[in-house]
């Protein structure tokens, strides 16, 4: 039994969810942890390693949000294609009549 293709609505919902997740990650506390881990808080080789890790964490999270948004764009493009295909396959009155 063939897997049914996702509908336009489904694709748009998934894209929206990915964008929402990217938005939430972008605003999470982990993004700004590094600000509280500088030399005003602690000093030493271990604190320096911690600061380096938190800066790397920020980089990873930014990369994650970028990836989520890229994937959302891909889904939205697929939705557009699916919409075109649907209209071509089942013409409606509104398609031809003003």
């Amino acid at each position: 039994m063939p897997i049914p293709s996702p509908t336009v609505q489904e694709l748009l919902q998934r894209a929206h969810a990915l964008r929402r997740l990217a938005h939430d990650i972008e605003r999470c506390d982990a993004m700004l942890l590094y600000r509280g881990a500088g030399i005003d808080t602690w000093i030493g080789a271990t604190p320096q390693r911690c600061l380096d890790d938190l800066l790397m964490a920020r980089t990873l999270l930014i990369r994650a949000t970028d990836l989520l948004r890229r994937n959302a764009v891909t889904l939205e493009q697929r939705a557009v294609q699916a919409g075109i295909a649907e209209r071509l396959a089942v013409p409606t009155t509104s398609t031809f009549v003003r």
Binding site: L18, A30, L33, I39, W42, L54
Partner: protein, 606 residues
Amino acid sequence: MNGFMGYDSDRVARLRTTMHHAEFELDGFRSSDTEAGTALSDVRRVQRMLRESWLPLLDSLLVCKTLTNYRPTRLETSELTTSRLGVLEHTYGWSIVTDPLTSASNAITIDQAQALGWTLSHVDVKTLISDHELAWLAMALTAIAKRPALVDAFLVNMTNDGWTRLCNQLGDGRIALVALKTVDGQLNSTELARLADIDSIFRQLGAVLFDERRRHRSADAAPVLATMNPYAAAMIVQTLQLSASELAAVSVTLIRRYRTGGWADVQRAGPGTADILMQTMIHTPGAPAVFVSRTAHDPALLFDSAHSSALAQALIALGTNPANMTTATAGAVIPDMVRYIRDSYNSNVGFYGRQDPTIGLFAVDLVAPWLLQFAPSHASDWSLSSSEGPRLLASVMIEPSAFSRLVTQRAAIAAGLSHRIASSGDMARHSVEDLAAMLALIDTLARQRTVDHTHDAQQVWDIGFSVIDASLSLLPAGGAAQIGSGVALAGLRQVLVSNGLAPRSAAAVAHETLYVLDWQTTVAAAAVICATFDHMVSNGRITAMTPPPPLPDPGVADPGAQFSVAFSAWLDVCALGQAGLELDAIKQTIASTHEAERNAVDLATG
């Protein structure tokens, strides 16, 4: 950070709270969408890092749970390498634990530079200068000196007391090492490294002060130097890049303190305070002359402060060189120095309890460039009486080899004469007069010592012809005229080549005394006349058909008189008019022994 970690408990607590919340928040990011898989794996990676690495450490720190490698400790405030954490612990109440990690970076930060200045100013430095601390301090100061922001941060907490304690400690350490090297002949590798670190720290401290002075023109290093030992201050001064006058002023102050403050007793080995300062002045253009001028009234400060008399003499020679000192200034300096040398030579006692055996010969080097000013005809240059100059000069020509030394200085004598002629304005007139005066003075000195050897006679000739050469080169006839060059000079050259510049046998100097000067002044007069004659021919004042001037005859007993007769006859035959009068004036000025004779009589009669 050298095995320790410091932290502010309140801030670490806030960091932990935020991190817990962040970890919880990350845990809530979920998605069943396959397109979110890769992104969420990055999120989980961050979450794991917080949960497994940093939250446990922060939790342990805050509940005082002892971790294997993070043990609570207290730092010594006197430990330089941990001065940054030490200041934070004792001033801001930070907690300190051991840190198993070692920092890959030795970079000095602003707060670290501030902390270092504070530590050096508030702890007893005597207890903290271990070998590894010295090496670290050298590294830290090198980094600080390179960045103005770090210099400012370092100096903001560095008090004068801090400077004094640190530099005195370093200076004492250096003196001890140099003394050890003198006694043992060498230092081991540890001692050498320590000496190198001390020197590096001194250099960087000087660089720090220099940078501050450069950027803040009002900044004055004098207060910092005033309270530390003269030796330590001298080490700092080396790299302050002071101006000539500043350096000379500071050096006078420090050497005076060194001589009167008892430091000389503990600084016997290696370069001392004065040596360091004098070496610095030698490498600072203009400083030797200013220093010599400032200490003219106290020559002992010049001659009797450095461990190395050769160094002091090099400084004095440089400072009193006519190229660096005016005739008027030299008049306020050289006579006093000559008197000091004469008196100290006679008293046979120096500052260090011994007489400098080289001072007699150095006196010759000192007077050589200024020989002309000792001549009676130039007595007014230095406000000396007409007989005082030759008498003063004779008083330091003490050593048996003094005259030989004067011969070796003939280039300096000639240079001094050239400088005098070149700066006197009327070059033609003065060069002739000064040449005559110089030849007379040299003859006077020679006459004082009996010239009874061919070698001695040759020496007198060498000096005389050096000054003749110098004078000729400054005559209008040509900047580079030398004896034997030019057209008319060619004949004179043949005479000199065939007969030699000086008598070659003892028989030839049998009539020594006046003969030497007579021949020399005659040759000098002939040389100047020939050079001037060539010049007059070349510019058309005398026709090219005119026969050349007569030449002196070395084969006769009285070459001066013979030349005078021949020259007068030549003038009569040639009828050169004004040109002839000028040539006659030159001959009369140079080829006269009257002045030398008078000087000799003065000396002989005391």
